[in-house]
Symmetry: C3
Subunit: 142 residues, 3 copies
């Protein structure tokens, strides 16, 4: 049902979507371990304490998660259109899998606090999205 480049995008987008959900679940896991909660109803059910903001370790996971959201939204929007321009399978693989790999490594480097590697992975993800945007613009304006 999918063209060959759409299969590549579908695989990549699904991995990015699952990556996002796993980070959401990880936020909850770290929060439950640290037992510091913003919502009083969560503190009550988990025998934890309430605070104005999450534990610093939770905030780090949330920043990694937020950065993924901010980059995944353009990827979902632009990547799908790129795959629909019927590019070569190799081009689709290079763009999509570089994006997926860069974002997975970005999360690892964020959680471990490793710089400048985290910023390099962020930049790689942005560049692949810019590349796909170029192809979509050519098809949309052509």
């Amino acid at each position: 049902m999918f063209t060959a480049p759409m299969k590549v995008y579908a695989l990549a987008a699904t991995i990015v979507g699952l990556h996002m959900l796993i980070l959401a679940l990880w936020t909850g896991t770290v929060r439950t371990r640290k037992k510091v909660f913003v919502n009083p109803e969560d503190a009550k059910i988990s025998n934890g304490t309430t605070a104005e903001s999450d534990h610093p370790d939770v905030l780090r996971v949330k920043r990694a998660h937020q950065n993924l959201l901010e980059n995944a939204i353009p990827f979902f929007g632009i990547g799908l259109l790129f795959a629909a321009t019927n590019p070569s399978v190799n081009a689709a693989r290079v763009y999509c899998f570089t994006f997926v790999g860069a974002r997975l490594l970005h999360t690892v480097f964020y959680l471990l606090g490793k710089q400048p590697f985290r910023t390099l992975m962020f930049a790689t993800g942005v560049l692949t999205t810019f590349g796909m945007a170029y192809h979509v613009l050519r098809a949309a304006l052509g």
Copy 2:
């Protein structure tokens, strides 16, 4: 123009999109009622006060909204691809409408501070997205 399962996804995605916009409008409504603003230009125009962060009631709406964003993005990405794999209408209905219902209830339970119901609805939404991801992966790798 839409296949039968795509109609189901289109209906579900539109409800999720509208749900998101209504929560954004609700954030602004609660903020204007509480008259506490982060932006000085907003405080001025509404005769309110400026603070470092929003009123706790506004922050609760924003957390509910943010949780919806985090789960809607994978749904938009994966759900569309799932509908494009041409599943049975019944499968599309079960996955998509369960997701929509779980997210609507999640918002209600978040705003009312009801646990463990909120977490159960979150988990239900994640599981339906995992289910759709399984079908997309099978089609993308098959």
Copy 3:
């Protein structure tokens, strides 16, 4: 490869995606200039200081960025489906380019702190999305 209304959506969605990435890059630029960082590893690499939250100027860019995310997600989801209902090119242009223009101006007005212009642009973006949602619902339920 794209139908005429899909070309309009593809152009609009790519501009919105690039707008989002440019705001992400702008957040980093302002943060590096202000030399106040939340992550200790970032403060170290840039010879800056660490603080519990970002500099107020960075927080303003982040609020503009977050508002774009919250509105771009429904646009990506609903706008694509709208374009797939095969509307007239003129309808697609009016909806999509009004959304793009309103969001670009929203960012400008947010960064400059101009009210009520910012709220007007926000409302314009929401209304165009509601309009596209109406067409999708008609096609999905028809």
